[in-house]
């Protein structure tokens, strides 16, 4: 690093900054995509057509509707210019603080998730399809030949627990919004949210303990690395193969934690208007909705990281495909990294799709059914799963 005119700290800082921006933008784009697919996917699966009216007129009489994407833009503009209605006798501080509690944890939890493996810029920009960038290849090979970084914003050694800690803060948004709105429906939504979260946080944690036992890690980077190994030479050690039962438990608990259908009791439209954000209007309501959509993307990110090998593609190592039957396909570094990012994005897309599909397929649970499912079924099953896993690990099974 002696030859570089930039200090390595500066380069690290710039890299972290760019990575954080990219991850933040990724979550935001996923949120925007979710709010589009909430409309369009529901329409298509119900044999409807969906949002297509909002459009930008083009010269020549055509209209640019982008399959309903312009509706999102129109929504943003509309909510910005709407009246900011405030309920009577509301609590100003808590009313506004609730938005931050709902929005911030949803966006920052993706910081500990790796989006791809190690990226070496000096090697990355040598690929033939990136050579057109004029000065970057020479810059990195001349100044920073050994520089490499993980495509992960924060490499915490307690990353998995960090996710739990921050997503546990998410519920304050619902509670405070419900309490400060001075509305009985909001209040009920907030109470439902709190008790639902307490019921499901436990089984969510315990269902993941088996995974921690098998991989002996809570560092998410190491978890993903462990999932890239192969069992019996051909099966990737993904969480879904080692802990198939825990996957379903975790998925249900995560949906319930996420306050989505079929567990969306806190904002059950047909019962308590809009739950905890009944009294929010304009851009504040948009932020609540957007936080909810980002949380869907976040659940998808976590599920694909913990149970589907994160960014890993089966048999793809740092230099190419090592096929289980002995073949080897050489790939350049840039291709590998891009394939990893694409693989992660596709997994996230799939789970976003699955969560939306479940949201539009299933009816809502009754409240006592929800509580019964959480305490009497999911919790004992996750403890049972944990005990069985411990016994197998102790006998040397994995």
């Amino acid at each position: 690093m002696e030859s570089s005119f930039l200090g390595i700290n500066t380069v690290n800082f710039i890299t972290s900054f760019l990575l954080a921006t990219a991850v933040f933008l990724f979550m935001f784009m996923m949120g925007a995509l979710m709010s589009w697919s909430e409309r369009k996917q529901s329409a298509v699966l119900q044999d409807r057509i969906g949002a297509n009216r909002a459009s930008i007129p083009l010269p020549g009489g055509k209209k640019l509707a982008l399959w309903g994407f312009i509706n999102n833009l129109a929504d943003a503009i509309k909510t910005l210019v709407k009246e900011d209605f405030k309920p009577r006798a509301y609590d100003f501080l808590m009313y506004n603080l609730a938005i931050f509690f709902a929005f911030v944890p949803a966006t920052i939890t993706a910081a500990v998730v790796p989006f791809a493996g190690v990226l070496k810029p000096a090697e990355f920009f040598q690929a033939w399809y990136l050579k057109w960038i004029p000065w970057l290849p020479e810059f990195f090979t001349n100044n920073l030949p050994d520089f490499s970084f993980r495509v992960q914003v924060a490499d915490l050694n307690v990353g998995l627990l960090f996710i739990f800690a921050i997503s546990g803060l998410n519920i304050f948004g619902a509670i405070l919004a419900g309490w400060s709105s001075n509305n009985k429906f909001s209040m009920m939504g907030g109470m439902r949210g709190a008790s639902q979260m307490i019921s499901y946080e436990i089984s969510m944690g315990i269902s993941l303990l088996g995974l921690i036992f098998i991989y002996q890690q809570v560092d998410i980077w190491e978890l993903v690395q462990a999932q890239r190994e192969l069992a019996w030479g051909w099966l990737p050690k993904w969480g879904i193969f080692l802990q198939p039962f825990a996957f379903f438990l975790f998925l249900f608990a995560a949906i319930a934690e996420n306050k989505r259908m079929p567990f969306d009791l806190p904002e059950a439209e047909s019962e308590i208007i809009s739950g905890y954000f009944t009294e929010y209007s304009g851009f504040k309501m948009l932020l609540f909705m957007f936080a909810e959509f980002i949380t869907i993307a976040f659940v998808a990110v976590i599920v694909s990281t913990l149970f589907f090998g994160g960014y890993s593609v089966p048999y793809l190592m740092a230099d190419g495909f090592h096929w289980p039957w002995g073949g080897f396909t050489q790939l350049s570094h840039a291709t590998v990294v891009i394939m990893e990012i694409l693989s992660f994005t596709l997994k996230v897309f799939f789970f976003c799709w699955l969560l939306q599909q479940m949201r539009w397929s299933l009816p809502r649970f009754r409240y006592d059914q929800l509580m019964k499912l959480g305490w009497k079924i999911l919790l004992p099953l996750s403890i049972l799963n944990l005990i069985v896993t411990i016994v197998i690990v102790a006998l040397g099974g994995f």
Partner: protein, 186 residues
């Protein structure tokens, strides 16, 4: 009544089926539900990708239902006399009977001594109209009718949805004489 409730061994008719543990996990049923909706989703997506219309709905102002009944109550028209003036005598019967109060009529003195009155203003607020057809039944001189078509009953704001006398008289430049003009009892 000869109907007998089905006799289940351990069940009364009000009991539900006993749910096993697998049922209570709901995994099977959730899978079935998602499978059914996914079938619809992918079928429609395939239709979109092959440039066909995926949904069964009708994009209203551009498309019309082809199977409208000839008795359908659609758009209002005012029937004309030979000279092009409306046959309406401004008797206010339709405005009185209208349950949505969407008809506004102002009368003025007619040139013709026999007819006495004619509408100076004849507005129908089509955004409030409920298409019940009472106005057609109430009209003593058969001046207002409803066409089966629902073509272009749209507008970008609520003032464009108020149709005045001339619009109702000349609702379509290409007038079908048999429907409107051809009927002339006088």
């Amino acid at each position: 009544m000869s109907y007998q409730l089905p006799d289940f061994p351990d069940m009364n008719y009000y009991d539900r089926k006993k749910r096993t543990l697998l049922d209570q996990l709901y995994v099977k049923e959730i899978g079935r539900g998602v499978w059914i909706t996914s079938k619809h989703l992918f079928r429609n997506l395939f239709k979109w990708l092959t440039f066909r219309k995926g949904g069964v709905v009708i994009l209203y102002p551009e498309e019309q239902r082809p199977d409208l009944s000839p008795n359908n109550r659609g758009r209002h028209v005012l029937v004309q006399r030979r000279n092009g003036s409306p046959r309406c005598v401004a008797c206010q019967m339709c405005a009185t009977v209208c349950p949505a109060s969407c008809i506004t009529i102002e009368a003025e003195e007619s040139d013709d001594a026999i007819i006495q009155k004619r509408p100076k203003v004849f507005n129908i607020d089509i955004s409030r109209c409920i298409f019940c057809g009472f106005c057609v039944e109430a009209c003593p001189v058969d001046a207002i009718r409803m066409l089966p078509t629902t073509e272009k009953l749209v507008g970008y704001n609520r003032f464009k949805m108020i149709y005045d006398r001339d619009t109702l008289l000349h609702w379509n430049p290409v007038v079908n004489d048999d429907v409107v003009h051809g009927y002339n009892p006088i």
